[in-house]
């Protein structure tokens, strides 16, 4: 082999090596997940997943029983403190000593939250059951300490006028018992408001019409979990990481979302429409679950990113009356929703996501460093060829 050819082969192999070093392991715009939120744990085994699922169901059933027992109209007047009918009924489920301490504080704070939401006397009464902290074990049953997510008992044809909220014991109730007063009041009220969930919508707008009820029931009321229509502040998508200016995504979280949710983050109106309207198909019957429970990691995989505040933001945008007409409508959901928003659902949702999340880059996209390297290599190759061609020119 001629010396010149050997040099070219060596140059080509070296170039391949440089490219391999630059590109392997695969990057494609995805950086290794940074564990900002939790320690890395090994993947659970199928047996463990099954056990977790059974425990989750068991807790959901317990919550349903508690709600049915406590929120029943016959039980309510005896277990609750005096309510003037213009606020939620508060029940503290625990020993009398605990209940007598927690009840007045909770009633006062919930009344404030109720007023903040613009609520007074409502057609659908809300019963809030607080579980006081208990420290006991019941044989081999899973402990009743839950994830801190509230459960909801929604009105149905057997009781059209009661919505129950079960708030499990957690940080706030333990702290109330410890310091015997409310600390960080604004934060506590936001927490209370968030826990009212779909019951706040029922209180404010009554029972939804059949199409809306069936649609929301099929998606576990994910669009109506966070009643913050009184709060004009912009929110930030926490999955963007510590510094929103850097707009670095938490890719583990992104890859856990549904395809439509991710495509909607990429500003695709059709995907946004699909994400919002998922669950509209099917009969408008009363067969949906009456009890809504949230899994421990419900936020990790959503049909629509930030879905929990979607309808709250809609209320703030369109106002009470237009939302009321949508909520009570007997028209198909897509028609009623577009009529309320006065534009196609997908387009409105794209605009809504723009307020709190930057556009997610999708598809093949070379990182700038890789592009620069490729251009450099190409320039070097072209330069070398040009140089070689000039030297071999016959005069």
């Amino acid at each position: 082999m001629a010396r010149g050819v050997r040099v070219w082969v060596a140059v080509a192999i070296a170039a391949c090596g440089i490219v391999a070093v630059a590109y392997l392991p695969p990057r494609g715009g995805v950086t290794a997940p940074e564990l900002r939120f939790a320690a890395r744990v090994p993947q659970p085994t199928p047996a463990r997943l099954r056990a977790q699922d059974v425990a989750e169901r068991w807790r959901a059933t317990q919550a349903a029983i508690r709600l049915l027992e406590s929120a029943h109209p016959l039980v309510r007047p005896f277990s609750a403190g005096g309510s003037n009918g213009a606020g939620p009924t508060v029940i503290v489920d625990g020993p009398d000593s605990t209940a007598s301490l927690l009840h007045p504080m909770l009633v006062a704070e919930l009344d404030t939250v109720w007023r903040q939401l613009g609520l007074g006397e409502t057609k659908v009464a809300v019963v809030v059951v607080f579980e006081a902290p208990r420290f006991m074990y019941r044989g081999s049953a899973p402990p009743e300490e839950r994830s801190g997510n509230a459960s909801y008992l929604l009105p149905d044809s057997a009781d059209r006028t009661t919505c129950g909220v079960l708030i499990p014991a957690g940080y706030w109730s333990i702290n109330l018992l410890r310091v015997r007063r409310v600390e960080r009041v604004a934060q506590f009220r936001e927490w209370l408001k968030g826990n009212l969930g779909p019951c706040a919508f029922y209180a404010a707008y009554g029972n939804p019409g059949k199409p809306v009820r069936s649609w929301l029931a099929r998606r576990n009321f994910d669009l109506a979990l966070y009643p913050v229509w009184d709060n004009p502040g912009r929110h930030r998508l926490w999955a963007l990481g510590q510094d929103p200016a850097m707009q670095r995504w938490w890719w583990d979280w992104v890859y856990n979302q549904s395809l439509t949710a991710v495509a909607c983050l990429a500003r695709r109106p059709d995907a946004c429409r699909t994400a919002v309207l998922e669950g509209v198909e099917g009969a408008f019957d009363d067969s949906g679950p009456r009890v809504v429970t949230l899994g421990q990691w419900w936020w990790k995989s959503q049909r629509l990113v930030a879905a929990e505040r979607y309808l709250s933001d809609v209320v703030r945008e369109v106002g009470h009356d237009r939302f009321q007409r949508f909520w009570s409508s007997t028209q198909p959901v897509d028609t009623a929703l577009a009529a309320m928003l006065k534009m196609p659902v997908g387009e409105w949702t794209v605009g809504w996501e723009r307020r709190f999340a930057p556009e997610l880059p999708l598809g093949a996209a070379a990182p700038p460093s890789a592009s620069f390297l490729a251009l450099l290599l190409a320039a070097a190759a072209v330069g070398s060829v040009a140089l070689a061609a000039r030297r071999r020119q016959v005069r």
Binding site: L74, P77, F78, G85, E121, K123, V124, A125, P155, S157, R160, T161, Y205, G206, N207, P208, G209, K210, Q324, R325, S328, T330
Partner: protein
């Protein structure tokens, strides 16, 4: 004996506390109750007696419910319905045991009235349909009078 006495006392206490709570109701239930009361007063002036039966309950839009009523042969009956301020259309239907509609009012918006004289003494069913309600549930009230 002692146990049954205790249960009796508890039952009386429960009823004593529960009955006024039920009677008070909420704003919309009171609206319907007042409307029914006004209808009774107005009809009383026209020679119609006190209602044989009244019923107040909530219904969501497009939902309906029925309740039985025994009507005497040859007696003229008037069945009136009222509903709260959020209700814009209430329908009333009277059906016989064979489920045939013998009197219907689906056109009177939120104040339907049925007039019927039964040919025989038997059980009928009054079916109430909340045809349109702006904020669910809407309370309705139905009263059955003898003319």
């Amino acid at each position: 004996m002692r146990r049954s006495g205790t249960l009796g006392v508890i039952a009386v206490l429960v009823l004593a506390v529960w009955a006024p709570l039920r009677a008070q109701g909420n704003r919309w239930e009171r609206q319907v109750s007042d409307q029914l009361q006004r209808a009774v007063t107005a009809l009383h002036g026209k020679g119609v007696g006190r209602p044989d039966l009244t019923r107040i309950a909530p219904l969501n839009s497009e939902e309906s419910e029925s309740f039985p009523v025994t009507l005497q042969a040859g007696v003229g009956y008037l069945i009136s319905g009222v509903c709260d301020d959020d209700c814009t259309s209430l329908h009333l239907v009277l059906a016989n045991a064979a489920n045939n509609e013998v009197a219907v009012d689906r056109a009177s918006e939120n104040f339907p009235v049925l007039r019927f004289t039964p040919p025989e003494t038997t059980r009928y069913r009054v079916k109430v349909t909340m045809a349109a309600c702006q904020m669910n549930p809407c309370w309705y009230g139905v009263a059955v009078y003898r003319k």
